[in-house]
Point group: C2
Chain length 303, copies 2
């Protein structure tokens, strides 16, 4: 089944201890779509400016991403600039220019309205709800958010969460949303807000999923070289949702496997700047790394 | 097979956001021995002062820990006092009184000299080596250390590590010892110093083991209530070594299971102050939580 994603398509300028990239392709919807496209068809809803180059359009189309929902607006494309220190865990935002994104009012093309799998990228929760209203009875709705919305649009976010099946956010966001320092207690408070599944992204420490069935924890893939963590969370979400949509199941077992595929995709993406690793990645490599995750985590039973 | 452990036996005073404990039983050798005693026989080498009460001796003996190597010296027992903030990840040391521990010069009783499994708790690396010299051809030697020794006695530590099979330390200590921020690269540098196995303790994020066979990662058990993390690392090491000694194997498969048993023991210990949870813990609970670790981590293969 195909996925509908709404989010940002942007130019990123990133500095890490290992190098710099200026005005490269970025944005939550870009990372998500590209990652998910390894598993299933993706329909993208976003806005770019007149300065968005054909080469980026070509890249997304080569990945078979449907761009009927990509609006070209008068003005400049969203720009973000940030830098990372040696621990690579958190970006320091240096500059944000919303540009055409400031007036983004997502309108779904007719052929997107019956989407089964929906991912609401990290945008204003009011817009997330607007998108959701347009879709006719989606099967699985997943959502991302961030501290900015948890603080500034808490009520709108809580309303949106009522209609969401899967929330994918990081540790700090879970604690902030629940106003509770213990992550297990915080997770239960978040599940009580609506989502049936909470996926907590923990960067180099992996991911933990909370559902009514229990808890699943997966490590991150141990890498000798992390060049640029930008987009890791959206790439994770793309692999997670892409796999779920590809198998058309929303079971605990499928979601555990989806967490591993999300971790695999994120582990590849951080190996290079922007989406550069995705340009050469083969699906056989994805499967091979999935099997390495099994070796990384398996241990025998006891009598 | 039995284990020989050398380390501290102490009085701890601990404050966490959830309460306080004054002058309770603590020390690296105490936590290690008690945890390991659930799996095998333990021979303890440490020193206490004249103020060490019979009730603590009784507790250790009830756990079948051999105290022939526990010296009673003139003076007061080692005292440590610390506090934790809400994240519970790192203790802030408020006071350390070495007392009789300042002149600790471990001398092994005759019947300890042919120990097969040895754990060198976090003490001066010169003393660790002194202990090791007294043991006749041990099968497996494991060791802990800390930033204080990595900084202050680096050469002595590096000498000791040449004779160690398994080093169990935390993330920050691995990075500091290797002088390398990337944990995978740092682990390889540490393995080149002598140990064949490096177990990286990551607190609430679990543990990762590096060997020539590859990498194994295990999450921590998700707990709704962590009361006191003091001793978690030594309790982990006690479960890890205790299980290894009980099966008498030093294979990759046995060490993976040992990591889980270490994690299980640590997860129980942090549920109460001091070693209080260990006083009531049953081995059936240990086995049950091991099985919960399987549910926590398992995911299916792909075709």
């Amino acid at each position: 089944m195909s996925i509908l994603v709404v989010g940002s398509v942007a130019f990123d300028s990133v500095a890490t201890p290992f190098g710099k990239a200026e005005e490269v392709l970025g944005g939550s919807a870009t990372y998500f779509s590209t990652s998910a496209s390894f598993f299933t068809d993706v329909n993208l809803v976003a806005v770019v400016g007149e300065d968005f180059p054909k080469q980026h359009i070509d890249f997304l189309q080569e990945r078979s991403i449907d761009l009927s929902g990509l609006t070209f607006a008068a003005g400049k494309t969203f720009r973000w600039s940030g830098e990372y220190g040696y621990d690579l865990n958190e970006a320091k935002t240096l500059d944000t220019q919303l540009n055409v994104f400031a007036n983004f009012c997502p309108k779904l093309p007719e052929q997107y309205l019956n989407a089964d799998y929906v991912f609401l990228g990290n945008i204003d929760p009011e817009l997330q709800l607007e998108v959701l209203k347009q879709v006719v009875r989606p099967k699985v709705v997943a959502c991302d958010t961030m501290n900015f919305w948890i603080e500034g649009k808490r009520e709108a976010l809580i309303t949106t969460l009522k209609y969401v099946d899967i929330l994918l956010i990081n540790d700090a966001e879970v604690r902030q949303l629940a106003d509770e320092p213990n992550i297990v207690k915080a997770a239960h408070k978040v599940l009580a807000m609506g989502p049936k599944t909470l996926v907590v992204k923990r960067g180099e420490y992996g991911a933990t999923m909370f559902t009514e069935h229990g808890i699943f924890s997966a490590p991150a893939y141990p890498l000798e070289a992390v060049f640029d963590p930008t987009g890791a969370g959206d790439t994770f979400a793309g692999g997670f949702m892409g796999y779920l949509a590809s198998v058309g199941k929303y079971t605990d077992a499928a979601m555990r496997q989806a967490i591993i595929f999300g971790s695999v995709m994120a582990s590849f993406n951080v190996e290079a700047f922007s989406l550069d690793r995705m340009r050469t990645l083969e699906f056989a490599e994805v499967q091979e790394r999935y099997r390495k995750f099994q070796l990384l985590t398996e241990f025998g039973g006891i009598d």
